[in-house]
Protein backbone atom coordinates (compact mmCIF):
# COMPACT_ATOMS: atom_id res chain seq x y z
CA UNK A 1 0.00 0.00 0.00
CA UNK A 2 1.06 3.59 -0.59
CA UNK A 3 1.73 5.80 2.42
CA UNK A 4 2.09 9.57 2.18
CA UNK A 5 3.37 11.93 4.86
CA UNK A 6 3.08 15.70 5.04
CA UNK A 7 4.42 18.58 7.12
CA UNK A 8 5.88 17.61 10.53
CA UNK A 9 4.85 13.96 10.08
CA UNK A 10 6.99 13.89 6.91
CA UNK A 11 9.89 15.59 8.68
CA UNK A 12 9.77 13.27 11.68
CA UNK A 13 9.66 10.11 9.58
CA UNK A 14 12.23 11.40 7.11
CA UNK A 15 10.44 10.69 3.83
CA UNK A 16 7.36 11.92 1.97
CA UNK A 17 6.10 8.54 0.74
CA UNK A 18 6.77 4.81 0.89
CA UNK A 19 5.23 1.51 -0.08
CA UNK A 20 4.61 -1.19 2.48
CA UNK A 21 2.78 -4.51 2.56
CA UNK A 22 -0.17 -4.40 4.90
CA UNK A 23 0.23 -7.18 7.49
CA UNK A 24 -2.73 -9.59 7.56
CA UNK A 25 -3.58 -8.83 11.17
CA UNK A 26 -4.10 -5.09 10.57
CA UNK A 27 -7.56 -3.94 9.55
CA UNK A 28 -7.84 -0.25 10.36
CA UNK A 29 -5.93 3.05 10.48
CA UNK A 30 -5.23 2.74 14.21
CA UNK A 31 -3.67 -0.69 13.67
CA UNK A 32 -1.51 0.71 10.88
CA UNK A 33 -0.30 3.53 13.14
CA UNK A 34 0.65 0.98 15.83
CA UNK A 35 2.48 -1.06 13.19
CA UNK A 36 4.38 2.02 11.95
CA UNK A 37 5.27 3.14 15.48
CA UNK A 38 7.06 -0.16 15.99
CA UNK A 39 9.27 0.51 12.94
CA UNK A 40 11.53 2.96 14.72
CA UNK A 41 12.04 6.03 16.83
CA UNK A 42 11.32 8.39 13.91
CA UNK A 43 7.90 6.78 13.36
CA UNK A 44 7.27 6.71 17.07
CA UNK A 45 7.83 10.45 17.39
CA UNK A 46 5.74 11.18 14.27
CA UNK A 47 2.72 9.34 15.72
CA UNK A 48 3.35 10.07 19.39
CA UNK A 49 0.54 12.61 19.82
CA UNK A 50 -2.55 11.22 18.07
CA UNK A 51 -4.47 14.44 18.79
CA UNK A 52 -2.46 16.19 16.10
CA UNK A 53 -2.65 13.43 13.49
CA UNK A 54 -5.17 13.57 10.66
CA UNK A 55 -5.69 10.79 8.10
CA UNK A 56 -6.95 10.64 4.54
CA UNK A 57 -7.62 7.34 2.78
CA UNK A 58 -7.74 7.73 -1.00
CA UNK A 59 -7.91 11.50 -0.46
CA UNK A 60 -10.92 11.42 1.87
CA UNK A 61 -10.71 12.31 5.56
CA UNK A 62 -11.41 9.33 7.81
CA UNK A 63 -11.32 8.40 11.49
CA UNK A 64 -8.77 6.06 13.05
CA UNK A 65 -11.30 3.18 13.01
CA UNK A 66 -11.63 3.34 9.22
CA UNK A 67 -11.10 -0.09 7.64
CA UNK A 68 -8.18 -0.22 5.20
CA UNK A 69 -6.93 -2.59 2.51
CA UNK A 70 -3.72 -3.21 0.55
CA UNK A 71 -5.01 -1.11 -2.39
CA UNK A 72 -5.50 2.07 -0.35
CA UNK A 73 -3.42 5.21 -0.44
CA UNK A 74 -3.11 6.46 3.13
CA UNK A 75 -1.91 9.95 4.02
CA UNK A 76 -0.90 11.10 7.50
CA UNK A 77 -0.53 14.79 8.36
CA UNK A 78 -1.11 17.36 11.11
CA UNK A 79 -4.27 19.53 11.34
CA UNK A 80 -4.48 21.86 8.34
CA UNK A 81 -3.24 25.45 8.52
CA UNK A 82 -3.97 26.88 5.08
CA UNK A 83 -5.67 30.10 4.12
Amino acid sequence: MDLLYFAHVRENIGCSSEQISLPDNISDVRGLMDHLRAKGRNYHSAFENEDIIRVAVNQLYVNFDHVISEKDEIAFFPPMTGG
Binding site: F6, A7, R10, I52, P79, G82
Partner: protein, 151 residues
Protein backbone atom coordinates in the same frame (compact mmCIF):
# COMPACT_ATOMS: atom_id res chain seq x y z
CA UNK B 1 -19.44 26.86 -11.53
CA UNK B 2 -16.55 28.15 -9.48
CA UNK B 3 -12.95 27.98 -10.60
CA UNK B 4 -10.41 26.37 -8.26
CA UNK B 5 -6.67 26.72 -8.74
CA UNK B 6 -3.78 25.50 -6.59
CA UNK B 7 -0.61 27.07 -7.92
CA UNK B 8 2.90 28.19 -7.05
CA UNK B 9 2.85 31.46 -8.97
CA UNK B 10 1.14 34.69 -7.96
CA UNK B 11 -2.36 35.74 -9.04
CA UNK B 12 -3.78 38.97 -10.41
CA UNK B 13 -7.01 39.96 -8.68
CA UNK B 14 -8.11 42.46 -11.33
CA UNK B 15 -7.63 39.93 -14.14
CA UNK B 16 -9.50 37.24 -12.18
CA UNK B 17 -12.47 39.57 -11.60
CA UNK B 18 -12.53 40.69 -15.24
CA UNK B 19 -12.50 37.06 -16.36
CA UNK B 20 -15.48 36.26 -14.15
CA UNK B 21 -17.55 39.25 -15.30
CA UNK B 22 -16.89 38.86 -19.03
CA UNK B 23 -19.92 40.30 -20.79
CA UNK B 24 -22.36 39.44 -18.01
CA UNK B 25 -24.72 42.15 -16.77
CA UNK B 26 -26.68 40.12 -14.22
CA UNK B 27 -24.08 40.38 -11.45
CA UNK B 28 -25.06 42.72 -8.65
CA UNK B 29 -22.05 42.33 -6.39
CA UNK B 30 -18.57 40.87 -6.18
CA UNK B 31 -16.79 40.08 -2.91
CA UNK B 32 -13.08 39.35 -2.88
CA UNK B 33 -10.88 38.24 -0.01
CA UNK B 34 -7.10 38.14 -0.34
CA UNK B 35 -4.91 36.53 2.32
CA UNK B 36 -1.35 37.89 2.64
CA UNK B 37 1.79 36.69 4.42
CA UNK B 38 2.19 38.74 7.63
CA UNK B 39 5.68 39.72 8.78
CA UNK B 40 4.98 38.82 12.40
CA UNK B 41 3.67 35.96 14.53
CA UNK B 42 3.22 37.19 18.09
CA UNK B 43 6.53 38.85 18.92
CA UNK B 44 8.47 36.95 16.23
CA UNK B 45 9.47 38.54 12.97
CA UNK B 46 8.76 36.27 10.00
CA UNK B 47 11.42 36.06 7.31
CA UNK B 48 9.78 33.51 5.05
CA UNK B 49 6.84 31.13 4.86
CA UNK B 50 6.68 27.75 3.16
CA UNK B 51 3.29 26.36 2.25
CA UNK B 52 3.13 22.60 1.80
CA UNK B 53 0.08 20.99 0.24
CA UNK B 54 -1.36 17.60 -0.71
CA UNK B 55 -1.51 17.73 -4.53
CA UNK B 56 -4.79 16.43 -5.88
CA UNK B 57 -6.56 16.32 -2.56
CA UNK B 58 -6.11 20.10 -2.07
CA UNK B 59 -7.98 20.79 -5.31
CA UNK B 60 -10.66 18.21 -4.44
CA UNK B 61 -11.28 19.71 -1.00
CA UNK B 62 -11.47 23.28 -2.33
CA UNK B 63 -13.91 22.13 -5.04
CA UNK B 64 -16.05 20.41 -2.41
CA UNK B 65 -16.15 23.56 -0.26
CA UNK B 66 -17.11 25.67 -3.30
CA UNK B 67 -19.84 23.17 -4.23
CA UNK B 68 -21.32 23.43 -0.73
CA UNK B 69 -21.23 27.23 -0.91
CA UNK B 70 -23.03 27.16 -4.26
CA UNK B 71 -25.72 24.88 -2.86
CA UNK B 72 -26.23 27.19 0.08
CA UNK B 73 -26.15 30.63 -1.57
CA UNK B 74 -27.39 31.85 -4.98
CA UNK B 75 -23.95 32.50 -6.45
CA UNK B 76 -23.39 33.50 -10.05
CA UNK B 77 -19.83 32.19 -10.01
CA UNK B 78 -16.52 32.66 -8.30
CA UNK B 79 -12.89 31.71 -7.99
CA UNK B 80 -10.64 30.24 -5.30
CA UNK B 81 -6.87 30.34 -5.77
CA UNK B 82 -4.48 28.96 -3.14
CA UNK B 83 -0.72 29.22 -3.55
CA UNK B 84 1.97 26.84 -2.29
CA UNK B 85 5.76 26.96 -2.09
CA UNK B 86 7.99 29.68 -0.71
CA UNK B 87 6.35 32.99 0.15
CA UNK B 88 7.59 36.19 1.76
CA UNK B 89 5.93 38.87 3.90
CA UNK B 90 3.52 40.87 1.77
CA UNK B 91 3.01 38.03 -0.75
CA UNK B 92 -0.51 36.96 -1.65
CA UNK B 93 -1.44 33.46 -0.38
CA UNK B 94 -5.11 32.93 -1.11
CA UNK B 95 -7.88 34.54 -3.15
CA UNK B 96 -11.63 34.02 -2.82
CA UNK B 97 -14.04 35.75 -5.21
CA UNK B 98 -17.80 35.32 -5.07
CA UNK B 99 -20.39 36.77 -7.44
CA UNK B 100 -24.06 37.20 -6.77
CA UNK B 101 -27.09 39.25 -7.75
CA UNK B 102 -27.26 40.62 -4.20
CA UNK B 103 -24.47 41.37 -1.76
CA UNK B 104 -25.51 39.21 1.21
CA UNK B 105 -24.96 35.95 -0.64
CA UNK B 106 -21.56 37.06 -1.95
CA UNK B 107 -20.37 38.26 1.50
CA UNK B 108 -21.59 35.20 3.36
CA UNK B 109 -20.35 32.68 0.81
CA UNK B 110 -16.86 34.25 0.73
CA UNK B 111 -16.67 34.15 4.52
CA UNK B 112 -17.92 30.54 4.57
CA UNK B 113 -15.36 29.43 1.99
CA UNK B 114 -12.48 31.09 3.88
CA UNK B 115 -13.52 29.59 7.24
CA UNK B 116 -13.83 26.09 5.77
CA UNK B 117 -10.65 26.37 3.76
CA UNK B 118 -8.65 27.14 6.92
CA UNK B 119 -9.59 23.88 8.62
CA UNK B 120 -10.44 21.51 5.74
CA UNK B 121 -8.06 22.17 2.86
CA UNK B 122 -4.81 20.16 3.13
CA UNK B 123 -2.26 22.98 3.35
CA UNK B 124 0.38 23.46 6.04
CA UNK B 125 2.29 26.63 6.86
CA UNK B 126 5.86 26.66 8.07
CA UNK B 127 7.23 29.99 9.27
CA UNK B 128 10.88 30.93 9.37
CA UNK B 129 11.94 33.43 11.99
CA UNK B 130 15.39 34.53 13.13
CA UNK B 131 15.18 31.93 15.92
CA UNK B 132 14.37 29.06 13.55
CA UNK B 133 11.60 27.43 11.52
CA UNK B 134 8.38 26.02 12.95
CA UNK B 135 5.10 24.58 11.70
CA UNK B 136 2.12 26.81 12.43
CA UNK B 137 -0.26 25.22 14.95
CA UNK B 138 -3.91 24.83 13.99
CA UNK B 139 -6.05 27.25 15.96
CA UNK B 140 -9.05 26.14 17.99
CA UNK B 141 -10.61 29.50 17.08
CA UNK B 142 -10.52 28.53 13.40
CA UNK B 143 -12.27 25.23 14.11
CA UNK B 144 -15.00 27.13 15.97
CA UNK B 145 -15.43 29.48 13.00
CA UNK B 146 -15.96 26.48 10.73
CA UNK B 147 -18.42 24.93 13.18
CA UNK B 148 -20.53 28.10 13.32
CA UNK B 149 -21.59 27.46 9.69
CA UNK B 150 -22.97 24.01 10.50
CA UNK B 151 -26.72 23.99 10.44
Amino acid sequence: MMKVLVQEHDFNITAEIAGLIGKRTDIGGIVTFTGLVRDFHGSHKIQKMTLEHFPGMAEKQLEAICKTAQERWPLLGGTVIHRYGQLFPGDQIVLVITLSAHREAAFEAASFIMDWLKTDAPFWKKEETLSGAHWVDAKDADTLKTKKWQK
